[in-house]
Amino acid sequence: MSIDQAHDKAHFPLPRRVIASPAFRTYSRALGTIATGALVGCILIFLLLPTLIVIPMSISETDYIQFPPRGLTLKWYGAYFGDADWMAATWFSLKIALATTATATVVGTMAALAIVRGNLPFRSFLQTLALGPMIVPHIILGVALYLSFSPLQLTGSLLGFLVAHTVLAVPYVIITVTASLQKFDPALELAALNCGANRLQAFFLVILPNIAPGVAAAAVFAFLASFDEATVAFFISDTGGKSIGRKMFEDIDFNLTPIIAAASTILVATSLLLMGAAHVLNVRKPSA
């Protein structure tokens, strides 16, 4: 008896004649598809709901968390934009994220070129090392960075955050740009060099325009990796320089107001817009 038959026997105590009939097979297959679909639908709701629930919470009039929201108000958004602490944290994080995006994209793209096209004596070691910050628990990095930065008075500073977040964002850049470079025909660069271009010209006139969508997507990932980062930011923030991640963490722990929902909604919207942009950039063919 095959697994299949055993399965049928165990679950459908029906006459063999019925089980073997084509109508029953079609029916049971449709039932199976519906069951799988329903199961997956429930899992997708589990995935999505906690992310989207912050939106209705941010427009509720009550100042405790209420669901379904009562009334319709934008006062929590007003409170968010009117609060000096929230604004300072938002601007600080935005500055860090933009500086990190620029640094990580340039540093990561240069390294990706060396990894894909170069003769690096320690290539696989460098690659493993560069991906290390993704594997090492962020709590360890946070504690380690605090330990090294605090004697140098780099905690709460733009430079301290820039170094920390560049290391955290660079793996995304290397992975994305390496993939773009591997799709790009190296013969085109050789042709440019043969036609008299120097290395720099070949890079800016031939390689970069072709891998630009990948580099742009990498920049989006770097931005989000920095802007959404919370664990390391928690440890290297201080009273003078607080990232939005640190501010949110403190408020969720001690001061749970709907302002957090308003701030979260803005962050979710920003992430979605940027991810949409990265998707469009990456789907578009480099030659198009």
Binding site: I3, D4, V40, I65, N119, I140, I175, Q182, T231, V268
Partner: protein, 281 residues
């Protein structure tokens, strides 16, 4: 096109990689090395001895591994059907499913933890529904429990399981299944003997990613877990921010790092970060 054409000289390559090496040195290698060195401060192993002789610390280490394993299995149980269906669906529906996976993936862990705090609170959404529908008389204690930590962590890590399995299943040629069916295998047998074995590399990659990430989780357990459900990361956080015992925190960190690196090395062959991440976009 292959990437075999390596035509940058060694000098140029090293020059191109230098900024990355400097950044990694300043922001990764040196700080972590210093932390490890601090754990051996005084030239003794006393801090490590403390971890293994105090039952509380040992139990935190064990429950961290346990929670990571439970979360990984929950992610596998929930993630496999999603990845399986995503690989079988038509392009449009697969895109909708993919969006449902990516939206949480690129939402800050803080926001998702916040949502779980709101959902699981004493007067939160879930308790509200349970009381209103008459299933329970008094609100249940949901938040600040081990269960809350497991549910919230599973939610955060699920996309890391779905994506590698999906990219493995999508790469599988439908010819294998067709051949199995032609040779007389029923749908169940074809699934168990063809699809499942071929999905194993993705399953392993996803499981290792979830397990390793779960070992070091800080934000979610710190916000939805109570003092009774302490994990390694929250213990390290407590030692540094409350008790200010840095050498002991360094020893705990080194131990957690060792567990993480050993897990990665054990499964290195199945772990392809670039594979998992390439499916992200």
């Amino acid at each position: 096109m292959t990437s075999s054409a390596r035509f940058y000289s060694q000098a140029t390559s090293i020059w191109l990689a230098t900024p990355l090496m400097l950044a990694l040195l300043a922001g990764f290698v040196y700080p972590v090395a210093r932390l490890i060195a601090l754990s051996f401060s005084g030239g003794t192993l006393n801090h490590y001895r403390r971890i293994f002789t105090e039952p509380l610390h040992l139990s935190v280490l064990l429950s961290t591994v346990e929670v990571a394993a439970v979360v990984t299995m929950a992610c596998l149980a929930l993630g496999f059907p999603v990845a399986y269906l995503m690989a079988k669906l038509s392009k449009g529906l697969a895109m909708v499913t993919a969006a449902c996976v990516f939206i949480p993936l690129w939402t800050s862990i803080l926001i998702r933890s916040y949502a779980w705090v709101v959902l699981l609170q004493r007067h939160g959404l879930i308790n509200g529904l349970l009381v209103k529908s008459g299933i329970v008389d008094d609100p249940l204690k949901l938040i600040y429990t081990q269960g809350a930590v497991v549910v919230a962590m599973t939610h955060v890590l699920l996309p890391f399981m779905i994506l590698p399995i999906y990219s493995g299943l999508r790469g599988m040629s439908p010819d294998y299944l067709r051949a199995a069916r032609n040779l007389g295998a029923g749908p169940t047998r074809a699934f168990l003997e063809v699809t499942v074995p071929l999905s194993l590399p993705g399953v392993f990659a996803g499981s290792v990613m979830c397990f390793v990430l779960a070992l070091g989780f800080y934000i979610t357990p710190a916000l939805v877990g109570g003092p009774s459900s302490m994990l390694m990361a929250t213990l390290i956080g407590q030692q540094t921010t409350v008790l200010l015992d840095w050498p002991f925190a360094a020893a705990l960190s080194t131990l957690l790092l060792a567990v993480t690196v050993i897990s990665v090395l054990l499964f290195r062959r199945t772990l392809s970060f670039s594979k998992g991440l390439n499916s992200v976009h």
